[in-house]
């Protein structure tokens, strides 16, 4: 199914509007979380002196698989700075997805320190962790995971529902983002009526709804053709540039890795960089 077209000028204006809204809301989120703001947000391409958003220090993640003990993440230490676009690569079973889930607060490290946006999330309660995932992180999955019985619009609203954002506010945000990614005419359709690229764009909008600081994508193009994959990577770049969002992508695609600011290679749970 062909994606909806939108003029470049219109896209830029919408993105500019979004950035303004994003900045003010982000300040409020930091205040809500009682996190000290270390630096004024700048929607620029990250520089080396940008603050560290993701910091892992000697992180391990072990779990049992049957009778075997698997070392999915093995003594990983790394830092990712604000606005950085990082690609996590490596063969299957190298621990990429586990690492992404640890960063996204979906899993907790067996050992080590995991600080996201200045907060050690390994010590957060389930409730606070849910809040963290809702407000600070946006997830994009390989298989989109849109609710089949809800329209695209309602699907995109869902993170706002969990944030108890007022409906009007949610809808405005959905409309803005949908306009930005060219989905405004597909909002009243069910997911099954969207193309793969549209579904992934919808999933990205859903991830961005609560204006997260960190966008985590697990094989976001793994289920798309080349053209749609390109479009998604371009969209990531635009988001990063316009919103200053830090993006971490797990991928097997060397093309994506090449377009990232940095590629972190994993093998057997260890960083190979």
């Amino acid at each position: 199914m062909p994606s909806a077209k939108i003029s470049k000028g219109k896209q830029q204006k919408l993105l500019s509007d979004l950035i303004t809204a994003y900045k003010s809301d982000f300040d409020a989120i930091l205040k809500d979380l009682n996190i000290e703001k270390t630096k004024t947000f700048k929607a620029k391409v990250p520089k080396n002196n940008n603050p560290v958003v993701v910091s892992l220090d000697s992180v391990y993640r072990n779990y049992k698989l049957g009778k075997e003990r698997v070392q999915a993440v093995n003594n990983v230490s790394l830092e990712i700075k604000e606005g950085e676009f990082v690609a996590l690569t490596g063969p299957s079973g190298s621990g990429k997805s586990t690492l992404l889930q640890l960063i996204g607060g979906l899993d907790k490290p067996s050992q080590g320190t995991l600080v996201i946006n200045g907060q050690d999330i390994s010590k957060l309660s389930d409730r606070k962790l849910s809040h963290f995932r809702n407000k600070t992180v946006g997830f994009v999955f390989q298989f989109f995971y849109l609710q089949p019985f809800l329209t695209t619009r309602v699907n995109l609203e869902v993170p706002g529902m969990f944030a108890r954002t007022k409906r009007e506010e949610r809808l405005n945000r959905v409309n803005e983002l949908a306009d930005a990614v060219g989905l405004e005419e597909r909002l009243d359709h069910l997911p099954k009526e969207l193309s793969g690229g549209q579904m992934q764009r919808a999933a990205i909008v859903r991830a961005l709804l609560n204006k997260p600081k960190l966008l985590l994508a697990d094989e976001p193009t793994g289920n798309l053709d080349k053209a749609n994959s390109e479009a998604i990577i371009e969209l990531f770049n635009q988001i990063r540039k316009k919103f200053g969002t830090t993006i971490v992508v797990v991928t097997h695609d060397s093309g994506i890795a090449a377009r990232a600011d940095r590629e972190i290679k994993l093998l057997d749970g260890r960083v190979q960089e």
């Binding site: 889930q101 996204g104 979906l106 899993d107 389930d126 409730r127 849910s130 809040h131 995932r133 809702n134 407000k135 946006g138 997830f139 999955f141 298989f143 995971y145 609710q147 019985f149 809800l150 309602v154 869902v158 993170p159 529902m161 969990f162 944030a163 108890r164 409906r167 859903r206 991830a207 609560n210």
Partner: protein
């Protein structure tokens, strides 16, 4: 917690999954709760209607019929037998002497012995005929020294249970061994029949009026008095009587309604019967045994003459008596060509008979006045809804005609016919009224004599212990049963219903919760990946629980709506189908001039709706809890990985 509207929006998507399974769940669960709601609404309706009716008749009173458990096996009682034989001997000796004195022939062998031999299991055994004068006399003497159980004993048995009153009811006694009768003069005429039917238990047969007439304590009859009627004998001598409903049309000469009469016609007919019955007077003819014997002889003679009309060889009797010229008067001698000797012999014979108990013929008109209507007792098996409800509602003192004891005592003939004879057997019935249903039930439970006949009982062997002996040892001298209304049964029904309803409710809750748990578990299992995604994008465990609880709330709401709607529909259908007929039956049963007393087969009270819906939601909550607790503890990452 997310906004309820958002929770509902997300929960609504679950209703669109597993539709066949969901439909089956809704269908089966709804059926179970339809049963609960229907039972509750209908029992509420029926019980509240019954409570309304219980204020009528004897419905609000707790009266117990107390049947004495005397060993009344007098026919084989050796003391009575030997006394009877002795009396027979004395009588024959007296008769022989009297016959000689009066100058008539008397053959002692023509005398029917009061004691005869009968074949028993162990050979011949003597049996006294309790119906003969000497049998009665010997029995009375025996009872005088061995008193029957009566009011005093009943009072002692029931004293700890809150006695409101002790009442009695009596049938006509055997004044003499002849055929005393009291016949209603239908349309003012006396029916002459040599063998009148004595149709006991059919009060609409006015010829058997005497066998269906009883006297009863005023307290038992008061609830059935028609408006404006007095239960005392009036100046004109008319005796107050309570007529059985089934006799009204007959005695008032009102035609029955056709079977296809409309409900309005039926109600109008009832009203008409009640209006016309009040203060309606009718006469009955009393004849003592001598009068009856003369009448029967005249009837037989007339029949013989009629039969031989035209028979030249037939010789008419020397003395011919014709039937009475006016109702309830004496027979008339129309021909008497007997010789002087024959007349003298007949006179001597009469003197002899009178000396040995034959009364002077007596006939007299007694005027009755209907002052009340007694509903007929429900009898036989109830097969239709109308009959069943009618039998439940039934309140009656019994079948037949009733005269208040006080009024009967004031009227000379009735006073004699119904006199309280402590030695008479089987004529008296006793009743005790208890203050509350609970106490009445307790009295029956604790003091009812329930003899054990399983060990065998030989009525001919008066030496063997009687099955009643054990009862007497335990102070249980009466067989006790509810009487007059089903008020105790209704109380019992309410208690039993309440008890079993709770059990049934629990079973239904368990069944329904298992069924609902099935769909809940399935939907949760189907939605594991979605739950994981929701968790990834920020849903708390409580948010997930809220979505599924909202889903269960929706299912429960659908079940609740179906159950309530269908239960009300069933109730309405039964109401429209049977209510009017039951109302008419109730009017007959209760003799209530107030036709506004309707009968409702169902009633929806807010508290019952609360029970039904509460039970449904509690069931839903129980059904959702287990799968939900298991689900919220699951690892979303693993679920997401597994679902790929």
């Amino acid at each position: 917690m997310i906004w309820p509207k958002d929770g509902a929006k997300l929960a609504l998507t679950k209703l669109r999954t597993r539709r066949i399974r969901l439909s089956i769940t809704l269908f089966v669960s709804s059926l179970l709760f339809i049963a609960v709601a229907t039972a509750l609404f209908m029992v509420r309706g029926v019980v509240s209607s019954l409570e309304g009716y219980s204020k009528v008749g004897l419905g609000s009173r707790y009266i117990i019929n107390a049947l004495p458990t005397d060993d009344q096996n007098y026919s084989f009682n050796k003391t009575i037998i030997s006394r009877t034989q002795e009396l027979d001997k004395q009588l024959i000796a007296k008769k022989v002497a009297a016959a000689k004195r009066i100058g008539i022939d008397y053959d002692p062998s023509s005398e029917q012995p009061s004691v005869t031999s009968s074949q028993g299991p162990n050979g011949k055994i003597d049996v006294v005929n309790i119906g003969t004068p000497n049998g009665i006399k010997a029995q009375s003497e025996y009872i005088a020294s061995h008193p029957l159980l009566g009011v005093g004993e009943l009072k002692a048995v029931a004293s700890d249970y809150g006695i409101v009153g002790i009442y009695s009811m009596r049938r006509m006694g055997n004044l003499d061994s002849g055929g005393t009768y009291l016949q209603v003069l239908e349309k003012g005429k006396e029916t002459y029949d040599a063998n009148p039917s004595q149709d006991f238990g059919n009060p609409s047969d006015l010829k058997s009026f005497s066998t269906n007439l009883q006297v009863a304590s005023e307290s038992l009859l008061d609830p059935f008095v028609l408006p404006g009627q007095s239960t005392h004998i009036q100046k004109d001598g008319s005796v107050p009587v309570f007529a059985p409903f089934s006799s009204l049309e007959h005695i008032l000469g009102i035609k029955s309604l056709p079977k296809n009469a409309t409900p309005k016609q039926k109600l109008d007919h009832l009203q008409n019967l009640r209006t016309k019955a009040a203060d309606y007077r009718f006469n009955a003819c009393y004849r003592n045994s001598s009068s009856v014997n003369l009448l029967n002889a005249a009837i037989a003679q007339q029949a013989e003459i009629t039969r031989n009309k035209g028979n030249k060889n037939y010789q008419k009797p020397d003395q011919i008596t014709d039937l009475p010229k006016t109702p309830c008067s004496d027979v008339v001698v129309t021909r008497d060509v007997r010789s002087a000797d024959e007349k003298k012999l007949a006179l001597n014979q009469l003197t002899f008979s009178r000396e040995f108990g034959e009364p002077v013929p007596k006939s007299e008109v007694v005027t009755f006045r209907i002052v009340g209507i007694v509903p007929d007792s429900a009898g036989g098996s109830a097969s239709t809804v109308q009959q069943i409800v009618q039998s439940i509602l039934s309140t009656s003192v019994g079948n037949g005609w009733f005269v208040p004891i006080g009024a009967a005592a004031e009227q000379p003939i009735l006073g004699e016919l119904f006199k309280d004879d402590p030695t008479a057997i089987g004529l008296n019935q006793y009743f005790v009224e208890i203050k509350s249903a609970e106490s009445a039930k307790k009295l029956i439970d604790e003091k009812n004599c329930n003899p054990d006949f399983s060990k065998g009982f030989d009525p001919m062997n008066t030496e063997a212990p009687s099955p009643y002996d054990e009862c007497h040892k335990q102070g249980k001298s009466f067989s006790l049963s509810t009487y007059g209304s089903n008020s105790l049964a209704i109380e019992e029904f309410k208690n039993i219903f309440s008890k079993y309803f709770k059990i049934v409710l629990l079973v239904i809750m368990i069944l329904a919760s298992l069924i609902m748990m099935g769909i809940m578990s399935r939907v949760i299992a189907d939605s594991r990946r979605e739950t994981a995604v929701f968790r990834a994008i920020g849903a708390k465990r409580l948010d997930i629980a809220q979505i599924y609880l909202t889903y269960m709330f929706m299912i429960c709401t659908i079940i609740g709506l179906i159950a309530t709607f269908v239960a009300v529909m069933i109730g309405s259908w039964v109401q429209s189908r049977y209510a009017l007929d039951i109302r008419i039956s109730a009017s007959i049963v209760f003799n209530a001039p107030d036709n506004s007393l309707g009968f409702r087969f169902y009633r929806v009270l807010p508290q019952d709706l609360l029970v039904v819906w509460g039970v449904i939601f509690v069931t839903g909550l129980v059904a959702a809890s287990l799968p939900l607790l298991t689900n919220v503890r699951r690892n979303p990452i693993r679920d997401m990985r597994d679902e790929r």
